[in-house]
Symmetry: C2
Subunit: 207 residues, 2 copies
């Protein structure tokens, strides 16, 4: 079980400081969508250059032009790029092909997918590396990713499973029994005053 740290609303300078401080506690650094919007894929390049031993995920949430956009991230040093589960099959397949060409990986973000079980089973046949159960930030007041994780964890056979969406230490205790391959945590670490203690607490709950 890997820990992915999502860096969304922090500046690139702050992101670098956080990753420096927590590098021994995390497996994957996520350059979040807002960070990409602010900095471009240069943020991916900077973090990968500073921490070549960590995996870096570029959360582009690709919706179209799968080949072109995935290569932008891979060329900048990303190990994993995200494509949306609501994108067309052609777009997902083009991201998968780009990943194979570049010897990199693909995570499909199932955010806002309707009929999520049916869609996950289909996407699971497409050669993607990860399928990510993800409750939108905009819905987290009313919902968490646990229900979808329960539904998908046994259905997804080929891909690994990731889970995201407002995960904190308390929620993580309920998630661990479903054994996802990646736990994605953002604000429960980055928005705490004692970030290293928060990351340690998360890490201790993980098997």
């Amino acid at each position: 079980m890997k820990l992915q740290l999502a860096l969304d609303t922090v500046s690139l300078t702050e992101a670098r400081r956080i990753v420096d401080e927590l590098q021994d506690l995390i497996d994957i650094v996520e350059i979040g969508t807002p960070c990409i919007f602010r900095e471009g894929v240069n943020a991916v390049r900077e973090i990968k250059k500073a921490h070549p031993g960590l995996e870096v995920l570029a959360d582009l949430k690709i919706m179209d032009a799968g080949d072109y956009e995935a290569r932008l991230a891979y060329d900048a040093g990303a190990d994993i790029v995200t494509v949306l589960g609501v994108a067309t099959d052609v777009t997902i397949r083009r991201v998968v092909q780009a990943a194979q060409d570049c010897r990199k990986q693909v995570l499909v973000d199932m955010i806002a997918v309707k009929h999520i079980e049916e869609r996950a089973v289909h996407i699971d046949t497409m050669g993607v590396d990860y399928i990510c159960v993800h409750t939108a930030f905009d819905l987290q007041e009313h919902k968490n990713p646990l229900d979808d994780l329960k539904r998908l964890s046994s259905l997804v056979q080929q891909a690994k499973v990731a889970v995201a969406g407002g995960i904190d230490a308390q929620m993580l205790k309920n998630i661990v029994p479903y054994a996802p391959d990646i736990i994605i945590v953002g604000g429960a670490i980055t928005k705490q005053s004692e970030q290293r203690n928060a990351a340690l607490e998360i890490r201790e709950i993980m098997p």
Copy 2:
């Protein structure tokens, strides 16, 4: 009927040169998603600063964190930001609210929306400025936006209608009778050796 020039795969330097050359022929400059990924919203800032008289659209294709991400683009100088029609209603509403707070505009990109008529009628009640019929780049070998435009142009009552997806001069002749408010053209101008002539040809077909 406005002409929106989509700048996707060109560098920021090349984008500036193209906008300088075509400024009198276009109404809206679109900083395309790949350009945002390469440059961040700095590309929006640069183009708006160089051409304050043109509208600038930031094609973020927002899928979550509607308030935060829309403000990133508006703060950089964007007049219009895009949100995906496949995003949740909450996310679309938060982008609309941010737009109203900032006195800016919202375009909903209907790319890959299933049951597009039903969804467009619903989104049309949400206070968005534009609903955009958009055939994905990854599908343009087999499909164009004309069929969806025919279906939506009479259904959408409150919002204005935009159309995108591989539009060239030939296709434009079939689009004009449906009187969309914005015609979005990218490669049919930017990928031509004589870009000004290509833009003039497009402009002459528009009423």
